[in-house]
Amino acid sequence: MFNAKVYISLKEGVADPQGATIKHALDSLGFKGVNEVKTGKYFQIELNIKNKREAEKQIEDMCKKILVNPVIEKYEYEIEEIKR
């Protein structure tokens, strides 16, 4: 069994209005030194797969096929084995 953590964020250069608005709110609440806020999505996916390479391939495929819109988004993931 593997647990995958998938992080999706907007590609460099793609506008992030949500991030900008939240940054503005942080500024006005008095948080000092906030340079930038970027928003994204986070998925946790549990895989009933034995082989780590196979698990990676699955996650890679999921990202490409459905989780990520490659036009505007990029992704990263971590995979770790869960022992029960």
Binding site: K11, G13, V14, A15, P17, N69, V71, I72
Partner: protein, 745 residues
């Protein structure tokens, strides 16, 4: 991005400029352009900004009328007088290519762009409508695009708080991979508060307002002027992200600013961003402009002047403020937490000068970018497919064995069935003016503090235009007008969105020319001038061009909204009347496509003189309070129209019994599902019938009594023989659930 050292043939070609056009640039500048200047010329001379292929043809449109306050082309949107000191500003625009690449953001930014066009003229936007075209719902990619586009429109429109009150959606093979997303926005403004998109008065200050500038949408205008290829998804930088929250602030701040009287002119930074907004406003004001782009707020580091000038980042505007009134403007923008930076001045030398700090990075005569842009009359040739396509042999079409089954199948076609899944995702009530909910002939919103209401309808049948672009163009106007007439509104003017393939293809350009001619003649006859619009070429995918699809947005006015007429049957015992007597045709019909999988024949004929009389008659009947409902016979023919009259009010479904007379040799399929122009189904109390007959006779419009409202079934008989007999609840269920079922696959 790095600036190339030398401009070579490759770079010129990449900018979509021909060798001749490059020579023309050199002549205008009396020297070689630098890279920034080349970029500026390429976007200003792109099809999107210059209308170089369409301009000569568009001159065929009638643009004058007694209530037209601003003529087409003079400003960013047309302005129509509606009395009471008020005017309507409205326009339709396409966002087809961006939506094909990234449907959600593509559609969302399309909505944002057209809204800015309206409020920068000082009008408060009161409604949005959309005309959408997709490939078949059975195709997963088309469903993906549909979900994304509808989601994007909802996201933007709902958030900014402008109701999306209606529209139309049509599915056809020809739009596979190249969906059409046409959005109409309409605003209301006091006649004396209209703001022009003009930069004039030497020394007045040019403000940059709104979001900061990034590399997104770089060269979007030239992107829209290219065909879609399999490589198009790699055009990433052309995708912009919409920020409806920012735009809501811009909208409120702008309207507040206009009330102070310090604004000289303003324009949205839409296609070709900072470049086109500065150049076009200066050109309209017969002025020059000087700006310093080192003052432009930026989101990304290391942007070169070329990138700043060509960026299409969203939610930005150019505002020209009277000199010495800058602080007043700044104060209002600050209240709304908006960026507002003075970046330059209006000048009198007719030159567009761009500086970065002290360094001049571009210097171009304004008129060379606008009035002197190239214009082409493209070659035209009648398409070869037409002869074969127009030839429909009726005798080869088998008569349906079970006509009721055919009825059910057409009723459940995605093109006919309820679009509730779409319009319930749109906030169609915000503003509390929507007095006819979506899903009907027209959208209707009342105008607060008056008795008036505005009706808008969007129409355009790509199949008809494929088979006969001239008739199809005429029909788009007539049908849109008929739709506003059916709710009791007088048609006043149109805007349009003309969606076609590649204009350098002579067959495409022939289709374009014919459609424009058709629209022009219908607008002339029906006295609804063209107030503006938008042309979208290059709508092609690897399989070929889309069906020629001109969309007409018709504006109608109801003087007293208590006379609003709705399409559904209301009372047991009411008489059902068919007004008008057009010739039915099966060519290009939903029946032919849905049952026989054919796109052939000729669309129904439209006689504009009859049409005008029909509309006049219908309006007179509604205004005199003689009819209880009016609904025009359109896609799917008479049977579908009658079914809709029974079920459009889901709170009160009501049946009807219809007796059709025998028409000589008319086949049952044509009788029920043949499509027709200039026909309206009315219902009325029996005691009103003689008056209705009198008025119809006076206007020389034919009138037939078809049957009676009542019961729990829709029964259609021909000379006593029952063709269709179906429970209304069942009909409603089929019609209501078909599209949802297909989408949820």
């Amino acid at each position: 991005m790095r600036e190339p050292e030398k401009i070579d043939a490759e770079i010129i070609k990449d900018h979509g400029l021909t060798v001749e056009e490059y020579e023309k640039i050199k002549k205008a500048l009396k020297r070689e352009p630098n890279f920034t200047e080349l970029g500026i010329f390429s976007v200003m001379w792109s099809e999107h900004c210059s209308y170089k292929s369409s301009k000569l043809i568009l001159k065929k449109f009638p643009t004058k009328g007694s209530n037209i306050l601003v003529e087409a082309g003079k400003e960013n949107a047309g302005v129509v007088d509606i009395g009471d000191g008020l005017a309507v500003v409205f326009k339709m625009e396409s966002h087809n290519h961006p939506s094909a690449i990234e449907p959600f953001q593509g559609a969302a930014t399309g909505v944002g762009g057209i809204i800015r066009d309206i409020f920068t003229m000082g009008a408060r936007p009161v409604l949005l409508m959309d005309s959408l075209r997709f490939g078949p719902v059975s195709d997963p990619k088309s469903r993906y695009l549909l979900r994304g586009v509808v989601g994007g429109i909802a996201f933007y429109g709902n958030c900014i708080g402008i109701p999306t009150v209606g529209g139309e959606t049509f599915f056809d093979e020809s739009y596979k991979g190249n969906p059409l997303v046409n959005v109409l926005c309409l605003g209301i403004v006091k006649k004396n508060s209209i703001i022009k998109a003009k930069a004039e008065g030497e020394g007045n200050t040019i403000f940059y307002v709104g979001s900061s500038t990034g590399r997104d949408g770089l060269g979007g205008a030239s992107f829209a002027s290219r065909e879609l290829t399999d490589e198009s998804h790699k055009d990433r930088p052309s995708v912009q992200i919409g920020d409806p929250f920012m735009e809501k602030l811009l909208l409120e701040a702008t309207l507040e600013l206009i009330r102070t009287g310090v604004v000289v002119g303003m324009q949205d930074m839409g296609a070709a961003g900072l470049t086109s907004s500065t150049v076009e406003t200066a050109s309209r004001g017969n002025s020059g402009a000087q700006i310093d782009i080192s003052r432009v707020p930026r989101r990304e580091k290391g942007m070169i002047p070329y990138e700043v000038m060509l960026s299409e980042s969203q939610e930005r505007m150019l505002v020209v403020v009277k000199k010495n009134k800058e602080e007043e403007a700044k104060k209002i923008f600050k209240k709304w937490d908006l960026n507002a930076v003075p970046i330059g001045k209006v000048t009198s030398d007719g030159v567009f000068k761009v500086k970065e700090g002290e360094k001049v990075v571009a210097s171009i005569p304004v008129k060379s970018l606008t009035d002197d842009a190239p214009i082409y009359l493209r070659e035209r040739a009648k398409p070869k497919y037409l002869e074969e396509a127009n030839n429909l042999d009726l005798s080869s079409l088998p008569l349906p064995e079970n006509i009721e089954k055919v009825f059910v199948k057409i009723l459940s076609s995605p093109n006919i069935s309820s679009k509730r899944w779409i319009f319930e995702q749109y906030d169609h009530m915000v503003g509390t003016n929507t007095i006819l909910l979506p899903g009907h002939d027209s959208a209707v919103v009342r105008v607060k503090e008056t008795r008036k209401a505005i009706a808008v309808s969007c129409d355009g049948n790509g199949r008809y235009c494929y088979l006969d672009p001239y008739e199809g163009g005429k029909i788009a106007v007539a049908e849109a007008a008929r739709n506003v007439v059916c709710v009791g509104a007088k048609p006043l003017a149109i805007t349009n969105c003309l969606n076609f393939g590649t204009p350098t293809d002579p067959e495409i350009f022939w289709q374009f020319t014919k459609c424009v001619e058709g629209i022009a003649i219908a607008c002339r006859e029906l006295e609804t001038p063209v107030t503006g619009g938008n042309v979208s070429f290059y709508n092609e995918n690897p399989q070929g061009a889309i069906d020629p699809t001109p969309i007409v947005g018709m504006l109608g006015l109801i003087n007293d909204f208590s006379f609003l007429c709705t399409p559904w049957f209301k009372k047991e015992g009411d008489l059902i009347i068919l007004l008008g007597n057009g010739e039915k045709s099966i060519g290009g019909s939903e029946y032919l496509q849905c049952i026989h999988q054919l796109k052939k024949g000729r669309p129904p004929e439209l006689d504009l003189t009859t049409e005008k009389l029909l509309q006049k008659t219908c309006l007179e009947l509604i205004k005199k309070g003689l009819v209880n409902s009016a609904h025009d016979v359109s896609d799917g023919g008479l049977a579908i129209c009658l079914a809709e009259c029974c079920i459009l009010n889901r709170e009160n479904l009501i049946g009807a019994t219809i007796n059709l007379e025998r028409d000589i040799d008319e086949r049952e399929d044509i009788l029920l599902f043949g499509e027709v122009q200039s026909q309206i189904i009315l219902s009325c109390s029996p005691q009103n019938f003689p008056y209705i007959e009198k008025i119809a006779n006076k206007n020389k419009i034919s009138l037939k009594l078809l049957g009676k409202v009542g019961g729990e079934n829709l029964i259609i008989k021909k000379e006593g023989k029952v063709l269709i007999s179906k429970n209304i609840k069942e009909i409603h269920k089929i019609w209501e659930n078909s599209l949802v079922k297909e989408i949820k696959i």
